[in-house]
């Protein structure tokens, strides 16, 4: 048993820190730290900086532009970037489509699409969910019918995150309506600029435009954009969902958010003393910190088993559930810490360059909205109920 990182790993951590100190724009880190809105340009800028260093797609093989890192290095990178308040890497191209293409795409597809993910030519979004197909994803209806060299797509996707910025969408579509649910699905790459694609915003409870509905009416998609074989899309989709993601627990993000919570609890006052030393609040903070410390080690245990060739199947469900619960509790406590000042909500205060006088403490503006927004963490990426089903069946065999 040795819980320490090796000296090589520590040297790598230093290298990442140096890179962040030199390359992460203070303007962007400041926005992330203070909960301001990131623009598309901010996200594109950060991707480009990472790509210039060869660190954007850090889990891709070296021949396709990956840095050849171990899972532990990737973990260190995730934690350090989060602690430095870097924006998260937008996962749709780099972490979702990339691995599917690497595993199942044709050479031509890899050569065409992978470099474009890296250099930012294409902003990808994920077209899985439909109004009738959420947890029961295989119930999807959006149909693609082969017509000469094209597929003709009709139907609807929904909850499409940042689809308003996207150039391309990877979709699960039904190509064989007669087959069993899982067997008639294909994986198709669709140009968002194609005639017949319409994107409509969905406004979330915090007032933000983060997700969209995407409608397809007789959209022609070149058959060359089919990934793998027709009607095998479910296998690829599942690969994507179980694809080993070192960051599924979001430990780095939670560590950064917890530090921020401690800062807030130290600055807030109760009966003239920092809220952080109030026995009731301190107990909540302590429980959360204990959970987070436990989570760090659970996460590292799974990583270690991956590093030694173990397969992280259902374990990632544990990481997802506990990781998102911890993150949600952190934002819930930050909200609680604000007391009455959780209520005011000036949306413009979250825009860069806003210089109105803050209402209450200057860190208060985004907190309640963030708490409400973070309810999504236990809903998307396979809801926590579905993850518990996976644990019950795959690990506990009940």
């Amino acid at each position: 048993m040795d819980l320490n990182f090796t000296s090589e790993e520590e040297a790598f951590r230093a290298e990442v820190r140096l890179f962040l100190a030199e390359q992460l724009p203070a303007r962007i880190a400041d926005k992330v730290r203070t909960g301001k809105r990131l623009t598309k340009a901010d996200m594109v800028e950060w991707h480009a900086i990472l790509n210039a260093r060869g660190w954007l797609a850090n889990h891709w093989p070296v021949e396709w532009g990956g840095p050849g890192w171990s899972v532990v290095q990737r973990y260190i990178f995730d934690v350090e970037t989060a602690l430095a308040h870097a924006p998260r890497i937008i996962p749709f191209g780099v972490s979702m489509l990339g691995p599917v293409l690497l595993e199942y795409g044709s050479d031509a597809q890899k050569q065409h699409w992978l470099p474009r993910i890296l250099d930012g030519s294409d902003w990808w979004c994920q077209g899985y969910s439909e109004p009738g197909a959420g947890s029961d994803l295989a119930g999807l209806k959006c149909a693609a019918v082969r017509d000469g060299d094209d597929y003709v797509v009709n139907g609807q996707k929904t909850w499409t995150t940042l689809g308003q910025f996207a150039d391309m969408i990877f979709c699960l579509v039904r190509t064989d309506p007669k087959a069993k649910k899982q067997e008639g699905i294909s994986f198709l790459l669709i140009d968002m600029k194609s005639p017949g694609v319409e994107v409509r915003p969905i406004i979330l409870l915090d007032g933000e435009h983060e997700v969209n509905e995407v409608f397809f009416t007789d959209v022609r998609v070149p058959a060359a954009n089919l990934v793998g074989e027709e009607n095998k899309g479910w296998t690829y989709a599942k690969y994507l969902l179980t694809y080993e993601r070192t960051n599924i627990a979001g430990v780095g993000g939670s560590m950064a958010a917890f530090d921020w919570l401690k800062h807030v609890a130290g600055a807030q006052k109760k009966a003239g003393k920092p809220l952080a030393v109030d026995p009731y609040f301190a107990a909540r903070l302590a429980k959360l910190e204990i959970d987070l410390e436990n989570m760090k080690t659970t996460n590292l245990r799974v990583l270690a088993s991956v590093a030694h060739g173990g397969a992280p199947g259902a374990e990632s469900s544990m990481l997802k559930i506990r990781g998102t619960e911890i993150r949600q509790e952190i934002t819930a406590l930050t909200r609680r810490a604000l007391g009455p000042y959780a209520q005011p909500f000036v949306s413009e205060a979250l825009d860069e360059g806003y210089n109105g006088e803050p209402i209450g403490p200057d860190y208060a503006a985004p907190v309640a909205a963030e708490y409400f927004n973070n309810r999504k963490l236990s809903i998307f990426g396979g809801s926590n109920e579905i993850q518990r089903e996976i644990i019950t069946k795959a690990i506990l065999r009940l």
Partner: protein
């Protein structure tokens, strides 16, 4: 033992419920809640005409209600419709203005609106941590200080402000109340939208000069009244919270019955059934807590304060549970602005940030329990 409301009270509840169902639907709420003024004076007038404001005050104050159960019945109905109008401030300030008959008459008629400005920026939920001062100047008074997150402050014509009058800051002794016209010189109101709809504001008082008649109630001895009116405010908020919980429960139940995934209504999944059962039983517990508090509101201080803190603690805890579970069991659709559900969830969550949260009232309950005079 009788858990039914009297006929009069039930009639009031029915009238209000019917009016709101017709005139204050979700679309109306959304329009008013994000509007520039954050409330509708027209609605306020109409509700006054129905007698809703009068129901909040006793006969000695020119009203025809004012008991704990009158308050809870009204606020339940308001909660069910997510009404953002300035009832809370009017209730809390009005109860301390019982001897100002002329003003209260206008308030009950809906032509004058009140705010209660007590809590301060550094004081969190503490009733005594005040730095606002009032000093005698000739016949009258000069007020200086700041008040925090006052609901619907901009709507108020008169603001009831607490201040330290004997130099001892941060204590319950030496507090007094002053009635400040919203347009008095030196009064600045900084208004802003609230995350759960409606508006709030910061009140700044800079050398606000008032006449002798601005003093409300006993000089240096306002604390007991403040505590009692906050207790009434808490009963109101808890009743509102329980109504919001019931709406969330019913909407979620409905969704569990109608949303199908994997070929069955999601309500068939035991994982959700048991959680729904927990939410339902906790809401009943919260309702009992509100009944306890409403019954204790008109009794002695010690029993009243214990019951009120118990209710606020309970609705805070159950409120978070209910709001979070309602969203979670709805999945993605529960996160949308379009659905009423998310607005109810936001309101419920924010009630815990008014007049003391779960932790504040648990601590208070513990302290009250160790206080002398327990018997």
């Amino acid at each position: 033992m009788d858990f039914n409301h009297s006929d009069d009270r039930q009639m009031l509840a029915d009238t209000l419920g019917r009016y709101l169902a017709q005139k204050y639907d979700f679309e109306t709420y959304k329009r008013i809640a994000v509007s520039e003024s954050g409330f509708s004076r027209e609605t306020w007038g109409a509700l006054a005409e129905l007698g809703i404001i009068g129901a909040l005050f006793g006969e000695e104050a020119g009203g025809f209600g004012g008991s704990g159960f009158d308050i809870s019945v009204v606020f339940e109905a308001l909660g069910r419709a997510l009404v953002v109008e300035p009832f809370l401030g009017t209730l809390m300030a009005g109860r301390l203005l019982a001897d100002r008959h002329d003003l209260l008459e206008q308030v009950i008629a809906g032509t004058s609106i009140l705010a209660f400005a007590h809590f301060e920026p550094q004081g969190r939920y503490d009733l005594t941590e005040l730095a606002t001062t009032a000093v005698r100047a000739g016949d009258g008074w000069v007020l200086s200080g700041a008040k925090a997150v006052v609901p619907q402050l901009e709507a108020a014509d008169h603001i009831l402000v607490s201040a330290c009058t004997d130099g001892g800051l941060g204590k319950s002794a030496g507090l007094s109340l002053f009635l400040v016209p919203a347009d008095a010189a030196g009064v600045t109101v900084r208004g802003y939208p609230m995350i759960d709809g409606g508006r709030g504001g910061e009140l700044l008082l800079k050398d606000v000069t008032l006449g002798a008649d601005a003093l409300v109630g006993p000089e240096n001895d306002a604390f007991d009244g403040i505590e009692a009116t906050v207790a009434a405010g808490i009963v109101a908020l808890c009743a509102e919270a329980v109504a919001v919980m019931a709406v969330l429960r019913d909407a979620t139940l409905d969704y569990l019955r109608t949303r199908t995934q994997f070929g069955v209504p999601i309500g068939k999944f035991q994982a959700l059934q048991h959680r729904m059962a927990t939410v339902a039983l906790e809401i009943e517990q919260a309702r009992s807590a509100v009944i306890n508090a409403a019954a204790a509101l008109d009794g002695d201080r010690w029993h009243r304060e214990r019951a009120v803190s118990a209710a606020k603690f309970t609705t805070g805890r159950v409120g978070t549970l209910t709001a979070e579970e309602a969203i979670q069991m709805h999945g993605g659709i529960g996160m949308t602005w379009e659905l009423p559900l998310s607005h109810y969830a936001k309101r419920l969550t924010m009630i815990d940030h008014q007049l003391g949260d779960e932790d504040h009232h648990l601590e208070r309950y513990v302290l009250l329990g160790t206080e002398a005079g327990e018997a």
